[in-house]
Amino acid sequence: MTKKRNILITEVALRDGSHAIAHQYTVDQVANIAKALDEAHVPYIEVAHGDGLAGSSLQYGLSRTDEFKLIEAAVSVCEQTKIAVLLLPGIGTIKELKQAADLGAKMARIATHVTEADVSAQHIGLAKELGMEAVGFLMMSHMAPVEKLVEQAKLMESYGADVVYVVDSAGALLPYEVRERVRALKQYLGIEIGFHGHNNLSLAMANSLVAIEEGATRIDGSVRCLGAGAGNTQTEVLVAVLDRLGIETGIDLYKIMDLAEEIVAPMLPAPQEITRDSLVLGYAGVYSSFYLHAQRAAKKLGIDARDILIELGKRKVVGGQEDMIIDVAMEIKKKREAVTR
């Protein structure tokens, strides 16, 4: 039944999409979506808090439902599809990774800032020990030059990663930048290469295609763009486009379109689109999950979210530093008041 797949797609709506709905997933929602994705023959679904295992926090937003219940629910409804989890060392620990593996997660994606791969050795090692597929996930890939990215990816390969991803967390990479990054990784690494895009500059699809042209074989997508900021590469569209290109994903196009339209769309508080604030995430190179946090801080203090995001970009803030948002917003407000006084 399963055809040979040229590209393996990981659906991230149940992890990255958690940001867009302020981590409010319920067991029923996750079970319904996961079941439909399994029936559409999606190879992998990532399930976790938006910031990975143990991400539920005041810093990033508290999960409505314990993520392990969500993982358990997804595993229980999937016959073919494998469940993946994300872990950011410094937030999650090997304890949560073991717990996820016990519940049946088969793939561990270990994410670090693009220059900090050496904090992932322990977690990648454990994932392999637990018999999981291990993926190194180099976030904010736009913030480091190509040589640095290669050096860090090689570290992850040396720890035992089966795949390394170029992760465009800010949706800031331009197609030529994706091309040179994936090309270099293909040249210097012996493992599979993946690409995770965000659509803040409306380039997620173009960038995914460029990555595939350069040899990437793992691509992340989210149905209805359900991901942080303007969302990710839209899975159902990606499946259709790859089909037109003669690239086999093994995913049933009608079924993935149906689940996007009938299950995911009605669940969204608002359609995922490129707003001025999400555009600025990509333009300023800021972590996409800052989106809602910056909008909330802006509203509270009566300032423009774009000013906060631009300033965060200038300060080279990295993923996970959500506490900088309110800090910077307060500084901007103070400066304004000093000027108008």
Binding site: S57, L58, Q59, P89, G90, I91, T93, I94, K95, H113, T115, E116, D118, V119, A121, Q122, R315, K316, V317, V318, G320, Q321, D323, M324, I326, D327, M330
Partner: protein, 293 residues
């Protein structure tokens, strides 16, 4: 007033910074620097300054145990397990700066007084030293149900040990938030930021307090008092803004600038460890000297 003799075990960045801080102490007399690499900058500097230099590690010190009563261990968690046993046999008091956590966990302004008779104490983590005092300060004003801390440090100031076992930081710090800070539940997050020039260590403390015991004025006063106390031994420790209180949630933004002794100023995370170690040793010394009088 007579001084108490101390030694530093480990001649890396932390040990060398400690050496420079100890020069200013009125109560502690650094006699010895113990390392394993005679070519290391730390041992070279110690020699220039006229301290006894041991370059064969702990065994050299065990042959001359009269050199110090208090030993600072600035090596690694693994090495400390070995050192702790040997130093205990010699009856030495050990201040452990590694994450080994063999002895009682100490945050000087919170629980040092209860542990002055201990022979081995541990300083938890840099994030713990920076944030547990604040959790405690909030908790003594209004009961803390949940406390969460986020420590952001410059990539350059995170050593290989920290990187290879980053889980140790989150786990040990959360334990400290509960056991010493007094929060019913604790959580810790650490973030490495590679920006150039390197950023100062930043810490954010979030606390959810029991609504029935919420006392805004008392919380703010308690935090300010605590910041002043920590500043007495870590001069670069400060609030970035006034604490924010929103319902029962208290948010405190802190930054720690190092004294710039041996380590660069941005590495407030390392400075707060060496400064706390000196503070602990001074209190131990006062206690020991008082007993001998």
């Amino acid at each position: 007033m007579s001084k108490l003799k101390v030694a530093i075990l480990g001649s890396g960045n932390i040990g060398t910074d400690l050496m420079m801080k100890l020069e200013r102490s009125n109560i502690l007399q650094l006699t010895t620097m113990i390392g394993i690499d005679p070519e290391s900058d730390g041992l070279r500097r110690a020699k220039e300054k006229g301290y006894e230099v041991i370059d064969v590690g702990i065994k050299g010190f065990l042959e001359k145990p009269e050199l110090a009563e208090i030993v600072f261990d600035a090596t690694s968690a693994k090495a400390h397990l070995h050192h702790a046993k040997l130093l205990k046999e010699k009856g030495k008091t050990v201040i452990d700066l590694t994450p080994a956590a063999v002895g009682a966990l100490i945050v000087p302004p919170v629980n040092l007084g209860e542990h002055l008779e201990e022979k081995n104490v541990n300083l938890i983590t840099c994030g713990g030293q920076a944030t547990i005092p604040i959790v405690h300060a909030i908790n003594r004003a209004s009961r803390v149900e949940y406390a969460e801390i986020v420590a952001t440090i410059a990539s350059k100031s995170a050593g290989l040990g920290t990187r290879a076992n980053i889980d140790e930081f989150t786990q040990t710090t959360s334990k400290g938030i509960e056991v010493i800070g007094g929060a019913k539940k604790g959580k810790a997050i650490i973030i490495l930021n590679p920006a150039e020039p390197p950023i100062l260590m930043r810490n954010t403390v979030y606390a959810l307090v029991d609504e029935k015991t919420m006392n805004e004025t008392a919380i703010i006063q308690s935090i300010q008092d605590m910041v002043a106390t920590v500043q007495s031994y870590v001069p670069g420790y400060r609030l970035r803004t006034e604490p924010i209180i929103d319902g029962n949630k208290v948010t405190v933004f802190l930054e720690v600038e190092g004294a710039g002794d041996y380590l660069p100023k941005y590495s407030g995370n390392l400075d707060i460890m060496t400064a706390a170690a000196v503070k602990v040793a001074e209190e131990f010394a006062k206690h020991m000297l008082a007993k001998t009088v």
